[in-house]
């Protein structure tokens, strides 16, 4: 008999605590698979967010640091500057990275900090119960935009990936979704590239992962997947936004 599918070693044998239909678990599994494939678990340190994935450390067989809301890029900077030979990744949601932590992620990217950043975009503040996020789509109803996001009053969804691609210190920026097997395979390739960007010292890397939030969107998991495909992807186009092929970021 040949094993063709198993739990990644880097993932603890413990059920995820995310809501049914949420893609945090899928995203974290892919990260664990890539860490296994690169053989870097012994030297990898994760930095977690505040939000739905605040318990991320429970699920990985890795050293982990939990920091303050939005500050994961600064915490990861401190870890990486102290341990430059280790692999450091941060994992944040849209409220964490694109609202309260905007300054930290922008400057982390601009410094070309050698970390890998994962950004799960589900267009709402999940853990606090579905409030409007910087990534909430125009017209989208949330508990703090009950009539739908009015761009004249509440501004526009924040395209963080495109913004960070402008920073000279960023080397790899991609946006992925996990709504079908083809996209999942693509996402895994991007996650691997984002780790390799760090390992090869090319610069800062970020993968934005679009995720459904059926609980706060008031949808079934199937409806939420369709909403990602029909509403989110047109606003947040998938693909590699920036790929710096060669050279070290060092001056």
């Amino acid at each position: 008999m040949r094993t063709i599918f198993e739990r990644p070693k880097t993932l603890i044998d413990k059920p995820f605590t995310y809501c049914p239909g949420c893609h945090h678990g899928l995203a974290q599994r892919l990260i664990a698979e890539v860490i296994d494939e690169l053989g870097i678990a012994e030297k990898t340190i994760g930095v977690g967010p505040v939000g739905c994935s605040v318990y991320i450390y429970e699920f990985f067989d890795l050293d982990f640091v939990m920091g303050a809301h939005g500050r994961a890029p600064a915490v990861a900077t401190g870890v990486k500057r102290s341990l430059p030979d280790q692999v450091v990744f941060s994992y944040q949601g849209d409220g964490d990275i694109a609202a309260i932590g905007t300054a930290e992620i922008v400057h982390c990217a601009n410094r070309g900090e050698l970390i890998t950043s994962f950004f799960v975009n589900n267009a709402v503040f999940g853990m606090t119960g579905g409030q409007m996020a910087p990534t909430t789509l125009p017209g989208q109803k949330t508990t703090t935009s009950p009539l739908g996001r009015n761009t004249e009053v509440q501004g526009f969804p924040f395209k963080l990936g495109e913004m960070l691609a402008q920073a000279d210190g960023s080397a790899y920026i991609a946006r992925v979704a996990l709504t079908n097997p083809r996209l999942i395979s693509q996402a895994k390739r991007c996650i691997k590239k984002a780790f390799l960007t760090q390992i090869e010292k090319k610069g800062f890397a970020l993968v934005e992962i679009l995720s459904p939030c059926p609980t706060n969107w008031g949808m079934t998991p199937q409806e939420a997947v369709r909403w990602v495909e029909e509403k989110m992807i047109p606003y947040f186009p998938l693909g590699e936004i920036k790929v710096k092929e060669s050279g070290s970021h060092a001056s």
Binding site: E42, D61, A76, V79
Partner: protein
Amino acid sequence: MERILMKGNEALAEAAIQAGCRFYFGYPITPQTEISEYLSRRLPEVGGVFLQAESEIAAINMVYGASSTGARVMTSSSGPGISLKQEGISYLASAELPCVVVNMSRGGPGLGNIQPAQSDYFQATRGGGHGDYRTLVLAPSSVQELVSLTHRAFYLADKYRNPVKILGDGMLGQMMEPVTWEGVELPSLPPKSWAIRGKGDGERKFILCMELDPRELENFNRKLEKKYRQMAEEDTDWEIFGEEDNPDLLLVGFGTVARILKSVVREGEKEGWRLSLLRPVTLFPFPYKPVQEMAEKAGRVLVVEMNLGQMVEDVRLGVEGRAPVHFYGRVGGMIPTVDEVLQKIADILRGEAQK
């Protein structure tokens, strides 16, 4: 022993390096910027990292990250910047991460000014951020003490796994005084087995700052309480200057003010007053008992501060009503003079005579 003339901020920065600090994250603000400038030159020479952050918030969270790996790490700022760091300091206290935070304080509130002040006493000694936590607070009074207390700050941070604040002011940071660089002897500490460096062959480790179960969080708060009690028992520090046994009046002041009060004690002798100065070296833990003992001997107390009356509350807690506690303060960057304090003492003694 060779004496070298050094500016306070630079002496503190060099002392941090001597104490084994290899990581500094900061953001420019007057009157402490020389600390950053000095370390930007010196840290790379010793294989360390100097990083100018985009904000005080980022700087303190970089401190959090570097401290998680077991490194000796420092940040420095002044009043407005310390306010921004308070969130991070609360998280450092919660995650039990050692670090040194320097406040060369200035006049406030708001943007205030850049002159020396002691108006951050409450912020420094009451925690400052959210939640029930404390930081050790050391209050140097000379450039030489900026050196010795910086060494002690790193030691105490590691001993207690807790942030330590050095509360100076613009005067101490900017003044020049001769310094000797003899080695500072401190007890050795156990290795930081809690630090995260990648799990290697061992078990995974976490640095956490959350506990959702109220019973468990209460247990954790009790653990912190025990630590703060131990600080009070083992590491409270103060200096007595002048008449020790039979003073007419007890002066209490810290940092820059204590320098002025030493002159007051000497000048008071000419007036025939036996004055005593108690200078808290640690503001948290505060020397409540020594204050009470000296206040009972003196029968009257005068607290002098460069604020509207902050440490005076701790003095009153220590005195417990056993002697009247008077206060004299200058604010906004104004510094009390020896003559002003002598006049205040004369008023106190005359006022009592009239009763």
